[in-house]
């Protein structure tokens, strides 16, 4: 193990390390902790200049209550879920098929198609912006959740294909061979042999895509406009306009907007990290 495990060093070094850890963590998360502190303060603290002191009263429930019952935030949250979940399902479904095709079959265009997906996944959004917005307008899907979902599914298929294909490549190919000898059709091999083995990859991708899509801001402002279909990342700017200079409210709103992917991460940590490393670092 590198660096040398701290247990093998002097008691002094161990103590120093263990007391340094929480200090470094506090510094690392300071900007976030500040927002958490803001979100439980009463508005009066900000006008009286008590920014960093002890809150003069605990107003966490009031502030978060306001976010949930006196703003458009619940609608934005709901929109975010209604955009994110179908996208996850769509992208994972499409890419388990493309990943299977590129991971199992040998044909001449294989690597080129694979590279096309990989390259497409890395292009700047701006080169797609005007045509995608036009397409969405002409499909009558501008400012709808469906319009966003369709685009997200298509775009995420690039990344997901990269991931799925590499994962399927690492599966024991003999299983597929054996099934073919038995005369099992290709579609059944996909469904009954490969798909069950792909469960870890499906989980990893789902968590990761959930976070990516939940956090998307660019496409949200390009393809949607109002509280009817905007997800929370875009909605938070209107929320902040509603509560201009009310830092306790804006802080509470930000925390609510950030929470679902955070919860996702803590619940599915192992899968999340497996996904981030693109399955390449084992």
């Amino acid at each position: 193990m590198f660096p040398q495990p701290i247990e093998k060093q002097s008691a002094g070094a161990q103590f120093a390390y263990k007391s340094l850890l929480p200090v470094v963590l506090l510094l690392w998360l300071a900007p976030l902790l500040a927002v958490a502190l803001f979100s439980i303060k009463p508005g009066a603290d900000f006008s009286s200049g008590n920014y960093w002191g002890v809150p003069s009263s605990f107003e966490g429930l009031t502030n978060y209550g306001q976010v949930f019952f006196n703003s458009d935030m619940p609608r934005y949250l709901l929109n975010s879920f209604m955009i994110t979940i179908p996208t996850v399902i769509g992208a994972v479904a499409l890419s388990s098929m493309t990943g299977f095709a590129l991971g199992v079959y040998k044909f001449r265009a294989n690597l080129w198609i694979f590279f096309l997906f990989v390259a497409g996944n890395f292009v700047p959004f701006q080169i797609l912006m005007v045509p995608v917005r036009d397409l969405t307008l002409s499909l009558g899907l501008y400012d709808t959740k469906a319009g966003l979902v369709l685009f997200h599914v298509a775009f995420q298929t690039g990344f997901c294909t990269l991931f799925m294909r590499n994962f399927i490549r690492a599966l024991p190919f003999e299983l597929i061979e054996a099934a073919r000898v038995e005369g099992v059709s290709e579609i059944r091999i996909f469904w009954y042999v490969v798909l069950p083995l792909m469960k870890p990859a499906l989980a990893a991708l789902s968590v990761l895509i959930f976070t990516f899509i939940w956090n998307d801001y660019f496409w949200a402002i390009v393809l949607t406009q109002g509280p009817d279909s905007q997800p929370v990342t875009a909605g938070i700017t209107s929320f902040n306009a509603q509560f201009r200079a009310a830092y306790h409210m804006m802080s509470a709103g930000s925390i609510v907007a950030a929470l679902p992917p955070v919860a996702m991460f803590f619940l599915m940590q192992k899968h999340f990290i497996a996904g981030l490393t693109l399955g390449a670092v084992k």
Binding site: F2, Y17, V262
Partner: protein, 308 residues
Amino acid sequence: MTVVSDIPETESWFHRNQQKIAPWLFLAPGILFFAVYVIAPIFQSFNLSLYEWDGLGKAEYVGLSNYEQLYWEYVDRDAFFISLKNNVIWLVMYLLAIPAGLFIALFLNQTVRGIRIYKSLFFFPFVISQVVVGLVFSWFYDPNFGLLNTMLGWINLGPINVLGNENLVTYGIIIAGLWPQTAYCMILYLTGLNAVDPEQIEAGRLDGAKGLRMLWHIILPQLRPATFIAFVVTIIGALRSFDLVSIMTEGGPFGSSRVLAYYMFEVALSEYGFRMGYGAAIAVVLFLIMMVFIAYFLWSMYREEKGH
């Protein structure tokens, strides 16, 4: 990219050729989506960059005049020049996330009690949306009450208005961006460090390698896959920077924190007018810059594939 896959009529023919046809059937839906929403729009944008178009009326063919305008903006050190310059700063500064991530990973690669929770909490910033990161950092920098200036006040410095200063603003935004990006690189390295071969470390120790020498000669070579991914995601992330600029400054003050991604959006879709063709030309420039890196990544992957 279009796929011509004739779905066979007779079942026996299908059965005989199943292994040839099956991959195309599995690929068809994915390729269709990807072609319509990703591949085709790239070509459409290239085409559009030769037109003057407000998004509603008729597009007027203007040849290369959009690019000519960009050239003059470059020469005159106007918006395009500033955006390009800021993109270079982003690219260089953002790479700091890689050594910083490695450093934190080395710091956290221990087995003391509760270390798992520490690792997750350090990773935290990456999970939060950039919109929230942007808001959090705008408050952090706020000249009146921001934590930064409060802390500077303790040592009798400041206040500085990071986001209001033309020379500091881009660096201020990049630091906000480095926060989640460092967390990402950290997790890549932590996973990589898990897989480092203990026997090689022992062998190195016997040869008297320690500390930095050990890191450089024995550990880093084994972390190469992690470093490669860290480079890919950091470079792409730097050139894609949009959310933070949009949330924290909207390109200001006086356009000094614009990057190409943001400038393009501003030109094509904001109150400054709907100049779709001109926006497309900016997007093409950004695309070509990114293509250099994408080509390099693909080349590395290609060599890897052939190596197997």
